[in-house]
Each structure stands twice: as C-alpha cells, then as structure tokens.
C-alpha cells in the first residue's frame, strides 16, 4: 500500500510554507497524537484580531507536514474568527485529498491552530474555552 499522495501534498511536503519559529509570537500551540507519536507546534502573531504571521514545526509523516503547511497558508491574514472555522476537511480539500489511511493526520493541523489561538487568549487573561472549545484528542481514530 504505497501512499499515492497528490502532487499538491508532495509540493507542500517538499517545500513547506511557513516553517520555523516566530520569536515575536503571541500565541503558541503544541498538539500531539497518541497513536503516531506525532507532534505539531504552531506559532501565531495576532494583531487587532488578525493573524498577521504564522509558523509551524512538525514531527510527523508527509501528510502531517503537508497539512501543517497548508493550514498556515489558509489562516495567514485571516481573522481569529475565520481561522477558528478552519476544518481538517477544508485542509484536505485544499490539498486535493489524502489517502484514506492518512486523513487522521490532518486533524493535527486543525488542532494546532486552535491550540495556538487558545494560548493567545490565555496570555490575554481571557478564558479560551468558550471561544475555542475543548481541543481534546484526535477523534479521527477509534483507539
């Protein structure tokens, strides 16, 4: 069962956008998943409710890296409100699909965005839970 990744996935994997750290980030979220042991860390810089810059680091498979990269592109320049609407499904669609066994990897990107926004509110002294909701575990797998 080879991976059969789409060209877009391979593009985002080989030339990931927005890789690295943001020294002046005002929101940082790190999520991981139990099954694969993968970790995704997302840095955001929020200015007047808009995500003006974003960077990520990911320890994970090709799909995890490609979805991180795509997710950062999709939230950059967006308001927090819009960024919170990002779903893993939208990321997968933007990547022209993922092999079925790899769909779960995209959940990590959605969670990382929410974790970073949650951290942003926490730093402001605002309880993030009513806005961001529970981040919880990956629901993609029944483990």
């Amino acid at each position: 069962m080879a991976m059969l990744y789409s060209d877009r996935v391979m593009d985002h994997f080989s030339n990931p956008r927005n890789v690295g750290e943001l020294t002046d980030a005002n929101g940082v979220g790190e999520v991981g998943n139990a099954k694969c042991g993968d970790i995704m860390k997302m840095y955001i810089k929020v200015d007047k409710g808009v995500i003006t810059d974003v960077k990520f680091k990911t320890f994970g498979c090709g799909a995890a890296i490609a979805t991180s990269s795509m997710a950062t592109e999709m939230i950059k320049g967006k308001t927090i409100e819009d960024a919170l609407k990002l779903t893993n499904k939208a990321v997968v669609e933007a990547l022209e699909g993922l092999p079925p066994v790899k769909i779960h990897c995209s959940v990590l990107a959605e969670q990382a965005v929410r974790a970073a926004i949650s951290d942003y509110y926490t730093r402001l002294g605002v309880d993030p839970t009513p806005i961001v909701g529970e981040i919880g575990d990956c629901h993609a797998c029944e483990h």
Binding site: M10, S14, V19, K35, F59, G60, A64
Partner: protein
C-alpha cells in the same frame, strides 16, 4: 549536495530481476508455454525445466530435489508449514508453537490465526542486539510443542540467528524446526542437513528472481497436509498449474546467488560498514541490531527527532529508495514491531532508516548516500519540534 543519482537501497523489500534470470525466463513466457502436466513434448519440456530448477534449489540448500516444493512466495511457504504442522500434530495433542517476537508478519499473523483456533504460542524475546537465545528456545520446548519457527535473518535489522544451534536443540528434543530464510537464502551459506533444519521458506524476488514465486523445503519423511489442494502438481502436495517461467528464474537466481556469495558478501560488508560508520557520525543516531551477526547488505539506523515517512519521502525526492520498518508495513502507522522488540522507544523506532544493498550497489551509490542522508536528516530535524526538545535536554 552531490549530483543527483538514482540509488536503489531497498533490496530487502525486493530486488531487480537480473539479466541472467530475465533471459532464462523469457523462453518460458514465449514459446515454452506447455503445461508441465501434459503428455506431449511441449509439456515435457516444461516438466524438465521444473525438474532442473528443483535440482538447483535443492543443491543450493543441501537438500534433495524431492524435498523442494514450489510456492507463490515466502508468505505461502510460511503459512503452509506453520498451519500444516499445527493442524497435523494437533491430532496428537501437540498444540504448542514456539516462535520469536520479531518474525515477519507471514509468521506472526499465521501464529495469531492459530492462536484464535486454540493453539498456544510462545513468543521468545530477542536481545537488544536482535538475537534469539538458544537457551530460551530450549526452555520453551514442552511435551506438547509441535513446532519451533525462527527466522534465519531478520528482514529489518538483518541480524542472523543461531540456526544450527536451534536446529540441534530441536533435534535433541524431537520437535520440528522451521526457519523463514527469505532474507538469508543466497546471502548466508545454508545447509539444511548440517543445520538440522526440517522445513525452510524462501522467496525468489529477494535474490533477483521474480515476484510471486518461492519454495518450501520439507525434510523427507515429514507429513505435511496441503495448504492448496487440487491437481497432482508438486507430487500432489501443492496444486496449481506451475509458474514455469518464475520457477526457472528462481533456479537461476539461487544458483547465481550461491556462486557469488563469498565475493559479494565481502564486497557488501565493506560498503555496509562504510555506511554505518558514516551515518553514525550524525548526532543522536544509533545502529539497530548486532553489528557483526548481520547480513552483509543490511544497515538500520535510527535518528532521534526524525519521522520515518518524512525521511523516506525526502530521500525519494533525492533519488534514494529506502525503507523504514518492513516493506509490508511501511504504509501503516504503527512503529515497527521489530524495532520495539529490541527495546527502542516508539518515537525512536519511528525515525529509523533501513538501507539494504545488493550486487548492483556501487561505491558511488554509497558515497552519494553518505553525502545526502545527513543533509536530509538535518532538514527534517530543523522543522521538528521534537528535535528542539531533544537538544534542549541533552
């Protein structure tokens, strides 16, 4: 980075059919299409070709031709032996099988099926160097043990097991002994009689033969029920019109592998050691499996903070075909059971790289891998949050 080239370093997953094997197969894919069971000369020619290949395989193993049965590959051979012995000896009250924790899935999943049917399986552990202990086998053997099945060489970390010693113990204890020698045949000298091997599995595509063909050696006198019933092929032990071309190819492949074994392994060992030494200069890396008791062409190294799939995909983009974990499971998300069995934590097991060399590997290929792999590891580590932590705490 060095000038890009194509390097196939996944010969433990499968090999390229050699020109000699291809040339030997072609006549049987073209004019030599007679069914070996047919009475006319065109059928006879196929039957003769099968006999010749059977002799070649027997010679390579130190067996008799009538002890060789052709199969569709290593998995079928493993299933045939293990299910066959289990079902046949269950009638005599022997429902216990001994194997190791790091066998190929063709053995492990077969044992799992038998366990569900009511058999008891003992999985002996392996050392942190990836070696089975003869003592463990000896201690595990019971009155009701039907079979001991231990692989000759591991497919991921290439460690070579003490097969002759296990064979001697099994002989002494009068227990049947099978070895999955899919990775070992052609790469290690084997003599089934001297090593007291009762049954052995092999596969052509690991030694520059075709995919979908293999063989099973079964010592004369052992009664093994059929896995595939039907026509009278293979002395009535394995039904199905014979894959003449594939079998002829296997005969040539195994003969060539044996003929070139000493020189090849000497040459590969040098390349392998150069790779190991070079890659171990990368920080936070480790060699998996015993350094000496390993296949001449096997390199298996873990890099902390690196995820295997990302590593493989990036290597592929640089022209290098390699693997992380066994071929059959590289689509899966679980860390390799082999690497876990030698005590690696899951996150390190995830970041392992297997390079497996063959006859076709050149010194230039080794140079290229040694120049590319460290840079790729660096690149992946640079975007790994795990790596950040590893260096922070070390």
């Amino acid at each position: 980075m060095a000038e890009k080239r194509f390097v196939y370093a996944d010969n433990a997953a499968t090999t390229k059919i050699s020109d000699a094997v291809f040339d030997a197969m072609v006549p049987w894919l073209k004019e030599g299409y007679g069914n070996a069971s047919s009475i006319y000369r065109k059928g006879d020619e196929s039957a003769r070709a099968l006999n010749k290949a059977r002799e070649q395989v027997a010679t390579a193993l130190g067996a008799e031709p009538r002890e060789i049965f052709f199969t569709s590959g290593g998995s079928e051979a493993d299933n045939w032996v293990i299910k066959g012995v289990a079902h046949s000896l269950a009638a005599k009250g022997k429902k216990h099988i001994i194997t190791s924790v790091f066998e190929h899935h063709a053995v492990l999943h077969t044992c799992e099926t038998l366990r569900k049917e009511g058999f008891e399986i003992t999985y002996v552990p392996v050392s942190d160097q990836g070696l089975v202990s003869v003592e463990d086998i000896k201690n595990a053997i019971r009155e009701d043990t039907a079979l001991v099945s231990i692989m000759y060489a591991n497919n991921e970390i290439g460690t070579i097991q003490p097969i002759a010693e296990i064979g001697a113990v099994c002989k002494e204890k009068k227990v049947l002994f099978h070895t999955d020698a899919v990775q070992a045949v052609g790469n290690v000298p084997i003599n089934v009689k001297e090593q007291n091997i009762d049954m052995l599995s092999l596969s052509a595509h690991k030694i520059h033969g075709a995919k979908g063909v293999g063989a099973m050696y079964c010592r004369r006198g052992i009664v093994l029920p059929n896995l595939i019933d039907g026509g009278g092929q293979e002395s009535g032990k394995r039904a199905g019109t014979e894959n003449v071309a594939g079998i002829v190819g296997l005969g040539v492949a195994i003969t060539n592998a044996i003929a070139t074994l000493p020189e090849r392994t000497a040459r590969l060992r040098v390349m392998r050691n150069r790779l190991i030494d070079g890659l171990l200069t990368i920080s936070h890396s480790r060699l998996n499996g015993d350094r000496e008791k390993r296949l001449a062409g096997n390199v298996n190294i873990s890099f902390e903070g690196v995820e295997g799939e990302a590593l493989l995909l990036t290597l592929d983009a640089n022209g290098i075909c390699a693997s992380s974990g066994s071929a059959c499971t590289s689509g899966s998300l679980d860390p390799s059971h082999v690497l876990l069995s030698i005590g690696l934590p899951a996150e390190i097991a995830h970041g392992s790289l297997r390079l497996s060399l063959s006859d076709e590997t050149t010194d230039e290929d080794v140079d290229y891998m040694l120049s590319v792999i460290p840079q790729v590891v660096d690149k992946i580590r640079a975007m790994s949050p795990l790596w950040e932590k590893i260096i922070a705490y070390s």
